[in-house]
């Protein structure tokens, strides 16, 4: 090993060095700002999590698996996974092996440490004849090949994204394109530059072979310098563009993972975690295909990836438009490989809206309301009466009032099972607060939560039964009801069936179960309803189900989508359910039910109807 130049310096390193310094400084400042923007409590929690061994290892593992290997993408599509991990992991290994190489062979680097690992082959002549040398040469060439294969796939993906399981991809912004092309250019240029130098500095199967080809045509070594310049420039351009392009996700995600592992939630619409999420967005466009609104082409630009872009640009008008239109089904969050929470991010945007008039519920007497729901009725069927005498308070919810069959059949099931129950909203009741929360009116939602809490606590119930997933979610997430179990009727029915208090008659009816957004993605309830339905008939699955279930289009989440705009979404969701050609569509949400029944060609039922029809009183 020998230094080729005494100075160990050439001007061509400048673009790279400047870019590197710039991007490092930018990232450090940015990271500090994000951390400072966190509320004091969250910041403390974050720092503690960094030094807690459990979260520390989780962080390392997550960063490795997510940022380098992209496991989520592997799960989705092998080719897509390979493309991403080959570039990320390959590059990472190039950097890592490059550094190892530098530290192995040179001492007292000084300022050279900045660029030596990158341009080692130019400054240092090596021989591949030693074992050590040949291994490193081989590794470097190998990982370069890996990256190059990734780049090749990336180029193919630009043209044929369907091969990668993506119907639509993001329309890149100008700087994204600059970043993209410079990234694409980096590795071929590196190959070129190193190949030129391979006969002097040494190389392996890739660079050396290319060098032989080059010497046939371009024997003059003076040609090598422009190649190194080009390589350095590509790197420099990439680094300069990085903070302003989607590639900012590379450094930001490393911050986002520990933040998320620390259990921090979005508080401010634009600062702290929200900012980390926005900058973590790689613009991959997976959320575009996921979005139920995209059946209408006009809505493509209202998906999460574009929200992130507009937030980065501070385009307030578009931010408002995008965040108000969303159905808040949460599917983009579910599919996002970096963990951008599209729904919560939007709610946060909605919550900063200025209103000159605000509702206020202080005039509503919780006491009076509670008086109306504290007379628990024991079902006439005493044979199966519960031994533990649980008192079930059934909150049907606003939407259920428009689909009274759900309430009626739920009551009927409760009676069959001999449950002692009382209805909380016989005469309307209060809203659970979730619609207000989704509209970003958090103070108002909080007031309703407090009122309802008072009512429920005063009722003397020990179980709160809900048939509306919208209510269920807020009751689980935002209510504190000590001593009271909050349960959705799908879960409760499963319990009744398992405990034998209900006996199901199974027949050959084919049911497909639609996962309501708020129940599935929102609360993680997937299996219980399926178990119940499977005991009533034949359960078939939709093309996309569970976490990837498609919103019915009726969601309260969207503030601006008009009735006429939702039809296509509902029809798309129905066609998704038709994959197993079911006889009946079953759901567990009053809103999904009324939305589907509007356009469906076959019966749409709530799970309560199915259970009521196919069950009889069991024995304990």
């Amino acid at each position: 090993m020998r230094e080729r130049f005494l100075t160990g310096y050439n001007d061509f390193v400048l673009p790279f060095v400047c870019g590197m310094i710039f991007v490092l400084a930018y990232c450090i400042i940015g990271m500090t700002r994000i951390i400072l923007q966190l509320p004091a409590q969250d910041r403390k929690r974050f720092f503690i999590s960094l030094v807690t061994p459990k979260t520390f290892f989780k962080n390392v593992k997550d960063i490795f698996l997510k940022c380098l290997i992209h496991v989520d993408l592997w799960k989705r599509n092998k080719l897509l996974g390979y493309m991403h991990s080959s570039i990320a992991f390959g590059w990472f290994m190039l950097i890592l092996v490059g550094h190892i190489e530098v530290f192995l062979y040179t001492s007292n680097l000084g300022a050279k440490a900045l660029y030596y690992p990158i341009f080692f082959r130019y400054f240092v002549a090596e021989t591949e004849s030693t074992m050590k040398g040949s291994l490193i040469f081989f590794l470097m060439d190998f990982f370069l090949l890996v990256v190059l294969s990734g780049i090749a796939l990336a180029i193919i993906k630009r043209v044929r994204s369907r091969l990668f399981g993506m119907r639509r991809t993001t329309n890149p912004s100008f700087l994204d394109l600059v970043g993209l092309y410079s990234l694409w250019a980096i590795f071929p240029l590196r190959l070129l530059a190193e190949s030129f130098t391979a006969d002097i500095s040494g190389g392996s199967f890739l660079t050396k072979s290319l060098n032989y080809v080059f010497t046939e045509f371009l024997s003059n070594h003076a040609n090598m310098l422009p190649a190194w310049w080009a390589y350095s420039c590509a790197l420099g351009i990439f680094f300069f563009v990085l903070p302003f392009s989607r590639y900012m996700h590379i450094p930001t995600e490393i911050l986002l993972i520990p933040l998320r592992n620390a259990g921090i939630r979005i508080v401010n619409a634009r600062k702290g975690l929200a900012k980390a999420q926005v900058y973590s967005c790689p613009s991959c466009g997976l959320c575009i295909d996921a979005c139920p609104m995209v059946v209408l082409k006009g809505n493509i630009r209202d998906t999460t990836v574009y929200l992130n872009r507009q937030i980065r640009r501070n385009n307030e008008a578009r931010i408002e438009e995008i965040s108000d239109k969303c159905l808040l089904c949460g599917k983009c969050t579910a599919v996002c490989p970096v963990g951008v929470e599209g729904d919560k991010l939007r709610i946060a945007q909605r919550s900063v809206r200025k209103y000159s008039y605000s509702p206020d519920y202080s005039n509503i007497s919780a006491e009076k309301e509670a008086m109306m729901c504290n007379k628990f009725v024991t079902a006439p069927n005493n044979e199966v009466s519960s031994a533990d005498n649980e008192k079930v308070l059934y909150f049907a919810g606003c939407m259920t009032a428009l689909t009274p069959v759900i309430r009626k059949t739920t009551e009927s099931v409760l009676e069959k099972a001999g449950v002692e129950y009382e209805i909380m909203d016989k005469d309307g009741g209060l809203c659970c607060g979730r619609p207000l929360l989704m509209a970003g009116r958090q103070d108002q939602a909080r007031q309703l939560v407090e009122k309802n809490t008072e009512i429920i606590m005063a009722s003397g119930a020990d179980t709160l039964l809900l048939s509306c997933p919208i209510c269920y979610r807020i009751f689980r997430e935002n209510y504190t009801l000590p001593g009271i179990e909050v349960i959705h009727h799908t879960e409760y029915f499963e319990r009744l069936v398992l405990s034998g208090r209900l006996r199901m008659r199974r027949d050959n009816t084919k049911y497909v179960y639609h996962d309501p957004c708020e129940l599935g993605r929102g609360c993680g309830v997937y299996e219980q309803p399926r178990n119940v339905i499977a005991s009533a008939g034949v359960l078939v699955e939709a093309a996309r189900n569970r976490k990837e279930s498609i919103c019915c289009g009726g969601s309260l989440g969207s503030l601006t989508l008009g009735f006429d705009k939702r039809k296509a979404m509902t029809e798309n969701a129905i066609s998704n359910l038709m994959a197993g050609s079911p006889d009946r569509i079953v759901t567990a949400c009053p809103l999904c039910m009324s939305t589907f029944s509007r356009y469906s060609d076959r019966p749409v039922e709530d799970i309560a109807q199915v259970v009521d029809r196919t069950s009889e009183a069991g024995k304990l």
Binding site: P359, N363, M399, L402
Partner: protein, 110 residues
């Protein structure tokens, strides 16, 4: 001089004098507002009706008649639950309408 009685304010709505500038602003954002045909479905399904007499039909009408105070009084207990959106035969996006009213009208909006 106190006679023990005085002029009672007119209860009539004088459309010539009603200031509709805020309504026009609202109409700009919510063009569907005047599609309302006053069927009253929203009112009959409204859970807030019991508390503040909320009736979106009346709110829409009152805003057109310049009776803003009355309209906001009714809106006081609106819980944005969306039942009115579900039942509206004219497909008016009532929730967004209510949010827009809250943005345009009210104390600070004056």
């Amino acid at each position: 001089m106190d006679f023990g009685f005085k002029l009672s304010p007119s209860s009539a709505i004088n459309l010539d004098k009603v200031d509709l500038s805020r309504f026009e602003k609202l109409h700009g954002i919510e063009p569907d507002i005047i599609k309302c045909m006053a069927c009253g479905s929203c009112t009959s399904s409204c859970p807030a009706n019991r508390f503040s007499g909320m009736s979106l039909r009346k709110v829409i009408l009152d805003l057109q008649r310049g009776r803003e105070k009355e309209a906001l009084g009714m809106l006081r207990n609106c819980m944005l639950c969306g039942k009115c959106t579900m039942v509206c035969p004219r497909g008016i996006n009532t929730r967004h309408l209510i949010l827009s009213i809250c943005r345009i009208y009210g104390e600070d909006g004056k």
